[in-house]
Symmetry: C2
């Protein structure tokens, strides 16, 4: 037990080692449901926060203080690397990200800037350093990036998409252009994640949030080789990696093949079944429905218990939501989940 | 072979009988991708068309003439039954349906009108009769309704939803109110589908389009009993039923349990794997990605072949998309799919 006392629970679980208790953190744990975050957002835009390390660090630390979670996750946006590549990104109130010069042709891919992303996004690396300096040893910092598909989909669509029509159109009509774009993104995202680890990130999550829009054949052909290349690039960094997406029930085995020490699950799938498909040599993260945080406490608790029952105390489970915390989520309920997971799993 | 000559291919396949060829139709085959439909929509709103049987019949028949599909599907909207129940429904350009008095409380459920839906939606039944009179014997008419969950979600949210927060909130906080609403909807939707069959509909599709927002436990608890009750109500009508939803990979076995002679698949799942989960005693419908209709013809064809390969010529496959046709879909590509499916599967 002495090893688990010094290894933070989150890192132990990410390596499928006994962890003392099941670690828990929440996607978007730094976000609008926290009044202290809203107070900062009143004065600063999302991009301003990302560019000001002191503020980004403060926002990263807020949920750690408030909730007692087992990991911090860097406050940033998956689209940041597109800015130094030459895309004109803005966040439009109520509509999310908007890119005014989306990538649609091989010419567009060709004019993407070759960029030293560690340099161009130096404030992110400084945020990592500041957060690491402020965090307790038992609370590791997770760095992150979007996966090549999800970042490409924003670059191509120019914003959030329902049908991913332009993205798929490029795949099907211009596979060479698609491949060129993916190659560029793998390189930049690999550099970006490497720089985060060099700055102090102790684990990495790769968000392929929208890859569930693809059928398995498309995933295998257009995504898997590039995601695999990214994960291969991350392996020598020596930090555990988490590979996450939503609506991925039919893709979990392929995502496992692409890489990741831990596969993130959304709430659409039962955790124990998913773990069988993924295989026992990987960890799993998840998978409470974010809307369950709006349920009566007794109902919420029974859902937490059910997820822990599915995980059956096996090393390698990191408790999380199946997607990000929603803006109006009651904080007390979030705290209750942290406490309950700790209470029920402490050995 | 004489039986299959007189039974239309669509009806034979829906009953898992040899069908002469794999039947094909498309969800939203009557829609904006057809210029003749757009011409009518320039003069009439969606609700106007639904209320004028001659126009609704014409719109229903347009794709049958244009594409040579094996079935017609009634032109209507899944939310129509909510109107006589007292909900103030409008279609807002670019935003979809909007209900100005959504159902949020037990009081709201209580004030829903008890309605003779066959009478209140008499124009729909008249449309069914007109279409049946105009259709060739080999092209059956599919009637349809929304499933209780999907209709309830619109009634509660007041329009399309991303997180189904209010719907789940009612389930979790007010299960009695939820059950009362589902009971009302099952009755009205059962009456509505019965009236369609009495008017001449030869098969029924139940659209639980958004049920994939739920995890399996929620489906089992809040949806399955009501969907099952609806399908039990439909059984004595003697027409085949299709049970469809999207993002349902993890729910297919439960949907099968709820009912339906044929289970509709979206494109996220491989058809042969899904058919194993669903069981050989049911048919399957699907499952081309609607965006594949924008691919180069050779690519589109190889995808059609792959789906047919997965179906392996087993009786009980109805070819369709995994969701509705998108507005800008090229008609030639849609026609090409019909022709290819017929060509490759004719015995």
């Amino acid at each position: 037990m002495s090893a688990t006392k010094t290894t933070p629970a989150f890192l132990a679980a990410a390596r499928r080692e006994p962890a003392g208790h099941t670690p828990v953190w929440f996607m978007r744990q730094a976000g609008r449901y926290l009044p202290e975050y809203r107070a900062i957002r009143e004065r600063h835009s999302l991009l301003e926060i990302c560019r000001q390390p002191e503020i980004a660090a403060e926002v990263t630390l807020q949920p750690v203080r408030r909730l007692g979670v087992d990991a911090a996750i860097l406050f940033a946006d998956i689209l940041l690397p597109l800015i130094p590549m030459g895309l004109d990104l803005a966040f439009v109130k109520g509509e999310g990200p908007a890119i005014r010069n989306p990538v649609r042709t091989s010419f567009d891919v060709g004019r993407l800037a070759s960029v030293d992303v560690a340099d161009a996004l130096a404030p992110v690396m400084e945020t990592v350093r500041l957060v690491r300096g402020a965090l307790d040893d038992q609370v590791p910092l997770i760095g992150f990036a979007g996966a090549p598909f999800t970042v490409a989909s924003y670059a191509i669509e120019g914003g959030p998409s329902r049908h991913f029509l332009e993205t798929k159109r490029m795949m099907y009509h211009e596979p060479a252009t698609w491949n060129a774009l993916m190659e560029r993104l793998v390189r930049v995202l690999g550099d970006y994640l490497t720089a985060q680890v060099e700055a102090g990130a102790q684990a990495l999550q790769v968000f392929d949030s929208w890859v569930g829009a693809l059928g398995p054949d498309d995933y295998r052909r257009y995504v898997l080789p590039w995601s695999r290349r990214l994960f291969q690039r991350l392996q020598p960094l020596g930090v555990p990696t988490i590979h996450f997406g939503v609506e991925t029930t039919a893709l979990l085995e392929l995502m496992r093949e692409a890489g990741g020490d831990v596969i993130g699950l959304d709430w659409r799938v039962q955790l124990d079944e998913a773990w069988v498909w993924i295989g026992e040599d990987r960890g799993v993260q998840g998978n409470l429905d974010p809307v369950a945080l709006f349920a009566p406490l007794s109902e919420l608790e029974s859902r937490v218990r059910e997820i822990l029952r599915c995980a059956a105390g096996r090393p390698g489970h990191i408790f999380n939501l199946g997607h990000g915390i929603l803006p109006d989520t009651p904080i007390d309920q979030v705290r209750a989940v942290v406490d309950l997971v700790h209470e029920l799993t402490s050995t």
